[in-house]
Amino acid sequence: MFRYILKRIIILIPTLLATSLLIFWAMDLAGGDPVDQILPENATYEQKDALREEMGLNDPFFIRYFRYIGGILKGDMGESYITHRDVFQTFMGRLNMTLLLGGSALIFACIISIPLGIYTALHQNTWKDTAAMIVALFGVSMPNFWLGLMLILLFSLKLGWLPSGGTGGFQYLILPSVTVGLGLAALLTRTTRSAMLDVLRQDYMTTAKAKGASRNRVIYNHGLRNAIIPIITAIGMQFSYVMTGSALAETVFGWPGIGRLVVDSINKRDTPMVTGSIILCCVLMAVINLAVDIIYAFCDPRIKAQYSGKG
């Protein structure tokens, strides 16, 4: 297992280098002078020239790129052009908010989707199954910014139960979590249903029933345990997506997460923040995927044996 993790970390290095080069190149290609973004619009030519020189913007592309990579290796991801704050610290400051939102959305989604997926699988081709799948389809298709606005209108404006956005106590977390979580729940319900249907048709399920195991034991011990791998895969993929792609929901609810940070930074052409954030998002995705792979091993002894080279 340790060798597997080490191998994955080593593979991550060229991935990060390629990502950083691509994003650095893309930001360079986009045109525009960072100095125009940093200085007030009426800054003098002398001020602009001095700043350009100081920031090394007159140097060729690869010198700037390797200087940036050199900085990262020394633990310096640079400063935001806009806020002049450290990129890494800013990102980490936002990461806990995204983890909070993503984690609570995922918990909400799992609480709804896994029981519902099992239920629909057990009632395949009945009106209950069809109704649940229509709702799930609606959940998958619905844009979360629209859902967020509808929830705000209902629970904040009409009923006055919950704040419309921002951060604070638990009450601020409810609407954003439900907004992000409902989309996830719809997808996870479909995945759970389909995984359970596959498992329910297996011979060992019939054997378990024939041996007199209770209905719950058959479903949860024999069924769900064997269906869990695709569900974990879907949760892992969705969690990666939530962590790095909740910009719309974060904007609608004024939630200061990394999705909004990246979008705001792109809009403001804050190159160090965009480059640094995307590299860190890449690391985050890799860590989540690695965590999912490790969880596989705990859930399925066959996979653990493969990691250990015994399979």
Binding site: D36, H84, G166
Partner: protein, 519 residues
């Protein structure tokens, strides 16, 4: 069972919602929460010149003079008790000896000299606003409470610079204190900086030891700027009581806000001018007739109706509405909307319909992305094809500074100084002269408006400038949107600079230091 469930539910609801109320003290709400569309980006006044930051510096710091942006750009004493030009190149400030910084140290001439000299530095790590003091050649202390500013020439508008927020007076001792990592936070204002949570809010606490609290008391114990970038969310947050003020509410939601009995929608004339610019240094817009044709083709009233739901005013003058000497549409001859005249001018310019295609550079965001297709349709009507090129604002500025554009959409806001338009937008060689204009008549008139000491002559020069620009059409001014702010009906709005309440400035530099909400 039902009773147990209800009890549990009640406990949860109390936990969740019970402690989110507002503390009341007498009839004044403890805090003031302002929902803004932008996040602050800098805590050091002279490293920026953004409106959102300046709204905050107005709480924590003070300027040599108080510039009342809300009422005709009048100047009043603040840190300086008085000031005078002793000759054409020397401006002397007499400081109030009672001024104290928030850390208790008295403010003296040393602090003023230190601040202004630091601001003048061309080193971008020290100051980004040296251009504001371009005329100043020396700042020196005459005695502990007198400062002399030496300039290369007389300027009618220099005094306004000392009323700008990047030049608030900072503490020299704080900068010399090696243990003070953020010396720029020390100011002489009625509030002190408390906390900036990135992406969320910035909060200021009342300075109980404010030196001028007898004459200029503050009321709210805390003032918070909450960063709610989505306009609809700001409006809902106001109706929901989460914020007290919604700056820039969405135009489409105004009727809902107006129908809300707890909300007041305030409208006043704005100053930010949106315009259609042209690069007049390269073809085809070196052609004066073509520029005039374009000006006549643009239907500004339709632009305002679509973009602002009629909450704005169109104009012919290049000067920002509300500025000193501004000529309104009935006072200036210009090339206003007239399609037949536009077609005739287009033909006089030497073109046939359909044979000219021009590029229009436009930022990707609102309102530009809405204005651009309207301009495109307007110009198509007289036979000009417009190719819209969208780009982010930073790129647009760089492209226009480099002169790569043919036409572009942009905006310009000024404080009290007309020179900010006359020089910064049109003077030969100025970095923000995106029109790439070099016209000796324009330069000469701009210089005269700035330096002429006879105020009647100066006024005439300013009129001449605006009339000349309207004739030459070096720019097509489009409109100035009204300032719209929605707020809790208990918010007290001031009608004079020295009265309690908020001062709303058409340009956006609102003064919140004495604002509060009555409960």
């Amino acid at each position: 069972m039902k009773k147990v469930l209800l009890a549990v539910l009640a406990v949860i609801m109390m936990t969740v919602f019970g402690f989110s109320g507002v503390l009341a003290e007498g009839t004044i709400k403890n805090d003031l929460v302002i929902g803004v569309a932008q996040e602050i980006n800098e805590l050091n006044p002279m490293m920026q010149n953004d409106q959102i930051n300046n709204n905050c510096f107005a709480l924590t710091h003070e300027r040599l003079v108080f510039l009342d942006n809300a009422h005709g750009y009048e100047i009043y004493p603040e840190i300086a008790e008085s000031w005078e030009w002793t000759d054409e190149t020397h401006l002397v400030f007499h400081l109030n000896p009672n001024v104290k910084f928030s850390n208790g140290t008295p403010l003296t001439a040393d602090d003023v000299v230190f601040t202004l000299n630091r601001a003048r530095s061309d080193d971008p790590t020290l100051s980004k606003v040296s251009g504001q003091l371009g005329l100043v050649t020396d700042v020196s202390k005459i005695d502990d409470y007198t400062v002399q500013v030496t300039t290369s020439a007389y300027s009618n508008e220099l005094i306004y610079n000392f009323g700008s927020y990047p030049l608030v007076i900072q503490s020299k001792a704080a900068y010399e204190d090696a243990n003070n990592a953020e010396p720029w936070l020390i100011g002489t204002g009625p509030y002190t900086f408390k906390e900036w949570k990135e992406g969320q809010y910035v909060t200021y606490t009342k300075n109980e030891d404010y030196w001028n609290k007898e004459n200029r008391p503050s009321y709210a114990n805390e003032i918070t700027f909450k960063f709610l970038l989505e306009a609809s969310q700001r409006a809902i947050a106001l109706q929901n009581g989460e914020i007290d003020v919604c700056v820039d509410p969405p135009v489409t939601d105004l009727r809902f806000l107006e129908d809300d009995e707890n909300v007041t929608v305030h409208t006043q004339a704005g100053t930010r001018l949106f315009y259609l610019g042209m690069n007049v240094a390269k073809d085809p817009f070196t052609n004066e007739k073509l520029r005039q044709a374009v000006s006549c083709a643009v239907d500004k009233e339709t632009v305002i109706a679509i973009v602002l739901d009629d909450l704005g005013k169109w104009q012919t003058s290049v000067l920002n509405r509300g500025a000193w000497s501004f000529l309104d549409n009935d006072q200036i001859e210009g090339y206003t909307y007239d399609v037949d005249r536009a077609k005739a001018l287009f033909e006089e310019a030497g073109y046939k319909p359909g044979e000219l295609t021009v590029e229009l550079f436009t930022p990707t965001d609102d309102p530009y992305k809405t204005i651009a297709p309207i301009i495109q349709a307007n110009l198509k009507e007289i036979g000009i094809n417009v190719d819209i090129k969208s780009m982010d604002q930073a790129t647009l500025k760089s492209e226009c500074a480099a002169g790569h554009q043919q036409m572009f959409l942009w905006r310009w806001n000024i404080g009290a100084r007309v020179d900010e338009t006359y020089r910064e937008l049109f003077y030969t060689g100025f970095p923000t002269n995106y029109a790439q204009l070099s016209d000796p008549v324009v330069d000469d008139l701009a210089d005269k408006v700035l330096t002429e000491m006879d105020q009647d002559k100066r006024l005439q020069y300013s009129y001449d400038y605006q009339n000349y620009m309207a004739e030459k059409v070096y720019q097509v001014p489009l409109y100035v949107p009204d300032l719209v702010i929605a707020y809790n009906k208990g918010l007290v709005v001031s009608d004079a600079y020295d009265q309690p309440g908020v001062l709303f400035a058409g340009g956006g530099n609102h003064f919140w230091a004495r604002a509060y909400v009555e409960q």
